[in-house]
């Protein structure tokens, strides 16, 4: 038998689309494997502009938290600490808050928020990643 595959245009279209998708996926994964395989997670926290959800209750201030992972591996249980620091306070720290993100995939970011009782000024917030798990 020397005839080619029995296919109509619809099947050829599905095949071509499948082949394209598959090639793109394999290419992307191969590139990722080469570039990112040996880099650990690299986490960075940024804070958004504080805002008050309830105008009548100024003692509840929400601070958006965004954590980015520019590394090559996903980080799990990422624990973030944000503190409100004022120089004139005796121990320096007025409020301390913590936040945990389940997963922060590589080259991705996750967002959350923390609530404070005092309205922080722009330079009064300190944010840091306390730790994370390698899943």
């Amino acid at each position: 038998m020397t005839k080619g595959p029995r296919k109509n245009w619809l099947e050829w279209t599905v095949f071509a689309a499948g082949l394209l998708l598959l090639t793109a996926t394999v290419g992307y994964l191969g590139w990722q494997a080469l570039v990112y395989a040996h880099q650990p997670a690299a986490l960075e926290v940024t804070l958004g502009e504080p805002w008050t959800p309830d105008a009548d209750d100024p003692s509840r201030v929400v601070v958006p938290v965004i954590v980015r992972n520019d590394g090559g591996h996903t980080a799990a249980d990422v624990k973030i600490e944000v503190s409100l620091v004022r120089a004139d306070e005796t121990d320096g720290s007025v409020e301390r808050r913590e936040l945990i993100f389940d997963f922060v995939p590589h080259m991705s970011s996750r967002a959350g928020a923390l609530t404070f009782e005092h309205r922080p000024a722009r330079d009064e917030l300190r944010a840091q990643v306390i730790g994370y798990l390698e899943p």
Binding site: M1, K3, G4, P5, R6, K7, N8, L10, E11, V14, F15, A17, G18, L19, L20, L21, L22, T25, V26, Y28, L29, G30, Q32, A33, Y36, A37, H73, T74, A76, F103, P105, H106, M107, S108, S109, P135
Partner: protein
Amino acid sequence: MSEHVLPRPSLAGSVREYARGVAGGLLFSLPLLYTMEMWEMGLVAEPTRLLVGLGVGFLLLLGYNRYAGLRCDASFTEVVIDSIEELGLGLVLAAAILWLLGSIDGDTRMPEIVGKVVIEGLVVAIGVSVGTAQLGGESPGVVGDGNDNDDDKNKYVERRPMSLSETLHGPSWFAAQLTLATCGAVLIAANVAPTEEIQDIARGISEVQQIGLTVLTLAIGALVLYSSDFRGSRDHVLFDGRADVALGILTTYLVSMFAAAALLWFFGRFDDNGLAFCLAETIVLGLPTAIGASAGRLLLQQK
């Protein structure tokens, strides 16, 4: 019908085939599309692991399509084409369902999308393949059950009068059964392989329970293949003598353990674990894979 070159399949026929594929893809993989561990796998799996998964998944599709697929009489090229179609369809279906379920959205970055879609898409693709071949009705004239080629017809006529043992002992028969047993094992056990429960059970059970599970795993294979008159067991299982029975049970057991270990590795359940714990996990998953490798294998046979 004795024309030598078959007409191209009709559009309606192809659409029916794809519809069956979509139905099968969802039927067999829906539990996994709704499983959190699978999404987490998509987040944490390294690109190399996903590539290996794609490669092995493609081999499974090739094997299934070759030995039990809708056009398993077809040339190798056609089997490859069918497998690529099914893998593509699986990826697209997985992406669509994951988006509908909110697991991926417009804000999701590329590595996460690719990870989730590849992991889920592999399972969907196997479902698509099985659905296309197994879920079809018998209505005559539907293109795809096209065995009405002269050569095929002769082969078919020749095949029947031969004694069963003569046809059954061939190496190609053995390869076919190994392939289908592996496909069955993966299809059935993939639903539980990624769950936390496998690790939990493996941590909790004693050596005695592990031995008990092993005995049950062996017994399930023996029961399904040799003493339950399971559908297809008369045609696809060797019955001649004790050696055949022992070989059949042992082969099924080996395939089960191998498939269990491969699935567990793929889902990251071996990572950083000691040998004893990995073995316990394999024994725990070995029971589902054994059911797949025996009952699943018989259900997957070419219709």
